[in-house]
């Protein structure tokens, strides 16, 4: 590991200033960053510890929305009574990821900013367009390992997937971020945090240097909405998803009044299946309708020979999850 300066600021203003310089990285839980520093993937000159400046609370606001401090640990978020009762897909998403030890340390903000677990990205002896722009992508070459990688292509140069389960559930619930910069807080839909990555797979978020996620806002719960998170992986526990789905449904008799579908493990960011949602909304809640809708959504997917199975997996997972919710 390369030597680095360490700072533990006591105000957001100091943290923003310390973190705005090139070569600086913020650390909160550090479960991903420290690992990547050991691998040589991340080589910061300066590490700025946010533990004393990030919000640690989960608050219910007057309008019924919920503000989750970016410093709230994954375990505490999954366990919170408001979350498990009103947003069960979120609790389920968190406990479907990592291990107990890691969830105790990892934070809400850090979870959203973790890096892909693509084997080529994590191996500095191999080319990688995300880590070292322009060097190539072994996953896209014949014989490359792409079983776990994306089927929706947001870039021609990289098919790495975003690894977070929590982000998938949050995107389904239309969560917004509170971002802090230059003394001002602004709101941004979480979906817009992640760039399209078309020409620069290394630039994954729109965050500017020195900009800090301070909280996540969840819109007020909707009466009658049921939600669930289902994840398929190569082993029963402590593994990243092949495909996961966060779904929420509200019914009006036998008709779907509202539906949210977000997929994990299929793209460089949580994939909100908007065309499938449009096809399902207002239509009878039948398996045939769900099947047709997600099949149409998947027509734009471009799988590799290694991960073609994700098409059927994603289809079946969405249909069975929606069936469970009606």
């Amino acid at each position: 590991m390369r030597p680095f300066e360490y700072f533990r600021p006591s105000s957001l203003a100091d943290a923003a200033q310390l973190g705005a310089v090139s070569g600086a990285k913020y650390i909160a839980g550090g479960t991903n960053l420290v690992d990547l520093m050991k691998l040589g993937v991340e080589q910061p000159d300066r590490v700025v510890d946010l533990r004393d400046v990030l919000e640690q609370e989960i608050q219910e606001l007057e309008d019924g929305s919920i503000r989750i401090g970016a410093g709230v640990r994954n375990t505490d978020l999954a366990s919170h009574p408001l979350i498990r009762r009103q947003y069960p897909a979120m609790s389920r998403a968190i406990v479907a990821g990592a291990s107990g030890q890691i969830r105790n340390v990892a934070t809400t903000g850090g979870n959203l900013l973790q890096r892909t677990r693509c084997v080529y990205f994590q191996d500095v002896s191999r080319p990688c367009n995300k880590r070292a722009p322009g060097t190539g992508c072994p996953a896209l070459e014949s014989g490359g390992l792409s079983r776990g990688l994306a089927i929706f292509r947001t870039s021609e140069e990289c098919i790495a997937t975003h690894p977070s389960d929590l982000a998938v559930a949050l995107v389904a619930f239309d969560a917004e971020l509170a971002l802090w910069r230059d003394g001002q807080e602004r709101r941004l839909p979480l979906e817009q945090l992640y760039t399209s990555q078309e020409s620069a797979p290394g630039r994954e978020t729109i965050l500017e240097p020195g900009e800090i996620i301070t909280a996540v806002h969840l819109p007020a719960p909707v009466d009658g909405r049921r939600s669930h998170y289902v994840k398929v992986r190569d082993r029963a526990s402590f593994a990243f998803s092949l495909v996961s789905v966060a779904a929420a449904v509200e019914l009006d008799g036998d008709t779907v009044r509202g539906v949210r579908i977000a997929l994990g493990g299929v793209a460089s960011r949580p994939w909100r299946a908007r065309s499938a949602e449009q096809a399902i909304q207002g239509a009878p809640a039948t398996s045939a309708n769900f099947s047709r809708a997600i099949r149409d959504e998947l027509t734009t997917a471009v799988p590799t020979a290694d991960n073609r199975f994700k098409l059927a997996l994603a289809h079946n997972l969405v249909v069975s999850t929606l069936e469970e919710l009606i």
């Binding site: 366990s79 609790s91 406990v95 107990g100 030890q101 526990s237």
Partner: protein, 169 residues
């Protein structure tokens, strides 16, 4: 090399040390303080051999930078019991023959103690059938899921689960 002065409590004793900013809590314990009960397995947070209790919760000490631990309270396997007065979880591992080579055992024991505390605090797991049932009822399936961050390459899982089940209050 960039060094920092650091004060932290390990097994209730205050230690004042100087650490390289790159040093992990695991390496501080083993290399600087010679508390070698905590083991290094993968060094990437996947095997759980380095599990300790940090301010009361179980963590992978290999993924924690020591410099971030100012003022923290760390409990390692050395702080749980003594050879004459074992912690009940240590005693249970002995009684149930919950090990073969023993390398993963300090991490398994610290993790099991932290895990039981999580259950008491109402933390759900991936296999909890209901998110409303607090605390979860601990059976073999729950224990296997909640302990999935601790590998045992000898495969002593059957007896590890029995040892932990015997400590479910």
């Amino acid at each position: 090399m960039i060094e920092h002065e650091l004060s932290l409590y390990i097994n209730d004793r205050l230690h004042q040390v100087v650490v390289d900013s790159r040093r992990t809590l695991l390496d501080l314990l083993r290399e600087q303080l010679r508390l070698t009960g905590t083991k290094k397995g993968c060094d990437h947070g996947q095997c759980g051999a380095c599990t300790v209790l940090l301010d009361g919760t179980r963590v992978n000490s290999c993924l924690v930078l020591a410099v971030t631990c100012e003022g923290a309270h760390v409990t390692t396997v050395e702080g749980l019991g003594t050879a004459d007065a074992l912690d009940p979880m240590q005693e249970a591992f002995v009684q149930h023959d919950a090990l073969q080579c023993g390398y993963c055992t300090p991490g398994q024991i610290c993790s099991a103690i932290g895990m039981l505390d999580e259950v008491r605090r109402g933390v759900p797991s991936h296999v909890s059938s209901s998110l409303e049932a607090v605390p979860a009822v601990l059976d073999e399936r729950e224990i296997r899921e909640r302990m999935s961050g601790n590998l045992c390459r000898c495969g002593a899982y059957v007896n590890i689960v029995d040892a932990i089940l015997s400590q479910v209050g």
